[in-house]
């Protein structure tokens, strides 16, 4: 990938959206900043204003008061059309143009920006390969000839086409089956590892938020920010009852799922080899394995060799 554009910081500065005639704002005095190159997941119940908050950024919804800056520049100072062409936009229903081929869909924004023909063609091939759709097979297909997962991959490629420093994603995987969803979530993490965009990702699924977010913004009804922090901090110290309820009573287990066996300190090897797991396993799965094997400890192996031992006591210490 030849994405070279520097990611930018996005700052919500008392951003408020109040639709006329409604008793309460949709988004209420939102203030937080997303460091350049990080994934911020906005999460919350329906009616929490998540999508509205996201659409404020590319001005699909206009601010009532407050401001949002992208790379230090207020979005209200920028031309609406230019602003949008500089931000990738991915939605749940994908919205591929049914009358255009996959290649032409991906080429949409580069064409609007007046790129050269060959440059566009090369970029399309590069992006399709990047989202794991071999250009040779997929270039000339229409949306009607793609599966749901393939469509969203094309949607992602289309959003990345002009190498925007910012990506806005509105429940992009919400309509997919669980297996495809998990695969695309992992793919997004891989892609983000390479291109380091500043991403705002909206979902109502707290597990998805924990998996994808560098930071999570929890919105409650009325578009009020309940908490903004890293997944670890939110799971360890929910700001209030609402946040605690939203992340779920199993937040201890969720915290365990953020860490793998390779990342923690283990007790020294003791020669007992069963049950055993390798370093890739999450602590949550390790706990599950211990419980189902009726064992209070687990042998952690590395290439067949015992590397150390994990005990239940150690796990509960980690959660303190």
């Amino acid at each position: 990938m030849r994405d070279r554009r520097q990611a930018v910081e996005i700052v919500f500065d008392h951003a408020t959206k109040h639709y006329p005639g409604r008793p309460v704002p949709a988004v209420d005095d939102l203030s937080f900043s997303i460091p350049a190159g990080e994934v911020c997941v906005i999460v919350g119940p329906s009616g929490g204003g998540k999508t509205t908050a996201m659409k404020l950024v590319n001005r699909l919804v206009e601010l009532t008061s407050g401001d949002i800056t992208v790379g230090g520049r207020s979005i209200t100072q920028l031309n609406q059309t230019e602003l949008r062409r500089g931000m990738g936009y991915v939605i749940q229903q994908v919205g591929l143009f049914p009358h255009l081929t996959v290649a032409d869909n991906v080429a949409t924004v580069p064409r609007l920006l007046g790129w050269g023909k060959q440059e566009i063609s090369a970029r399309v091939d590069e992006l399709l390969d990047f989202v794991d759709l071999p250009a040779r097979d997929y270039r000339t297909r229409y949306a009607s000839q793609l599966s749901g997962g393939e469509r969203q991959r094309v949607g992602l490629a289309r959003a990345l086409a002009a190498d925007p420093p910012v990506m806005l994603m509105d429940e992009p995987f919400g309509a997919l089956d669980p297996i495809t969803r998990t695969r695309l979530q992992k793919e997004l993490l891989r892609i983000q590892g390479e291109i380091r965009k500043t991403i705002i990702f909206v979902t109502h699924d707290i597990d998805e938020a924990i998996m994808l977010g560098d930071r999570i913004a929890i919105l409650r009804e009325g578009g009020v920010l309940a908490q903004y922090d890293t997944p670890e901090e939110i799971l360890a110290h929910p700001a209030d009852d609402f946040a605690a309820r939203f992340v779920g009573a199993d937040r201890g287990l969720k915290r365990l799922s953020l860490t793998t066996l390779a990342e923690i300190e283990l007790d020294p090897p003791n020669g007992v080899v069963s049950p055993s797991a390798d370093g890739e396993m999450t602590l949550r799965d390790a706990l599950s394995l211990m419980l189902s094997e009726g064992s209070r400890s687990l042998s952690v192996t590395d290439g067949g060799e015992q590397r150390g031992v994990l005990t239940l006591d150690r796990l509960s210490e980690l959660l303190k």
């Binding site: 590319n58 699909l60 609406q80 059309t81 230019e82 602003l83 949008r84 062409r85 936009y89 939605i91 749940q92 229903q93 994908v94 919205g95 591929l96 143009f97 049914p98 009358h99 255009l100 949409t108 924004v109 609007l112 297909r141 229409y142 949306a143 009607s144 000839q145 599966s147 949607g155 289309r158 959003a159 806005l168």
Partner: protein
């Protein structure tokens, strides 16, 4: 024919088939193709093309306006429906005192009858873009005009072509009555033949009109396939 002989046009003897006014005489059609039927067919095509092209231009403009400003839909819809309900013979009668016995009168009527179908279909087509597609277009920074020309219009093509098919075929049928006003079109041989009930000419005129309609309709189907390949794309995987 030997060289030097005087060239006397051979109009041919009326065959027994024609004299007995049997149902259909192929020899009469052969003998009169160049003088009667072919010119009538050409005139008929011309009348139809003008009516559909002008009707389409008016309907297209009106539909674009109605697409942008919803308020406009009702007045134009009502007007075109009103015209549509006027019987064609009555409409000719109404127009002749104003526009005379000429092509203009015929075309005003023919154009008038295309408006309802074309306007409705074009507008429906423009409104048929899925909301998620329009949202994606907006989110990617397409302007309103770009969305219209690059998204809404291409997606409206199937409905537009469907409207053109109906409008054109019905115009071909209606254009036969143009012969009430001007001596043109496939209606002319039919009207002439009706005086002495000459069956072959009536059938030949009618058959040509039907054939023309079928051929034009088939051409539209082919054009639609060429214009909207995505609508015919099958799963290849």
């Amino acid at each position: 024919m030997a060289q030097g002989d005087p060239v006397i046009p051979d109009f041919g003897e009326a065959s027994s088939c024609v004299e007995e006014n049997r149902l259909f005489c192929t020899d009469w059609v052969r003998d009169n193709w160049g003088d009667v039927l072919q010119p009538a067919l050409t005139q008929h095509i011309k009348l139809t093309v003008i009516a559909v092209v002008v009707g389409f231009a008016i309907s297209f403009a009106a539909a674009l306006v109605a697409h942008r400003y919803r308020l406009f839909e009702r007045p134009f819809g009502l007007l075109s429906a009103l015209i549509y309900t006027i019987p064609s013979i009555a409409l000719f009668q109404l127009l002749v005192p104003i526009t005379g016995l000429g092509v203009l009168t015929v075309e005003i009527a023919l154009v008038g009858y295309t408006l309802l179908i074309l306007f409705r279909n074009i507008l429906e087509g423009l409104r048929s873009s899925p909301p998620d597609v329009l949202e994606a277009a907006r989110g990617m920074g397409l302007t309103r005009r770009q969305t219209l020309w690059r998204v809404e219009l291409p997606l409206a093509l199937p409905a537009i072509v469907a409207g053109l098919r109906v409008a054109t075929v019905s115009t071909i049928a209606l254009a036969t009555i143009a012969a009430l006003v001007i001596p043109e079109g496939l209606g002319r041989p039919i009207f002439i033949a009706l005086r002495d009930y000459f069956k072959t000419e009536i059938i030949a005129g009618g058959a040509l009109a039907i054939l023309l309609a079928l051929v034009v309709d088939a051409l539209f189907v082919l054009a639609q396939r060429a214009l909207t390949p995505w609508a015919y794309a099958r799963r290849t995987a």
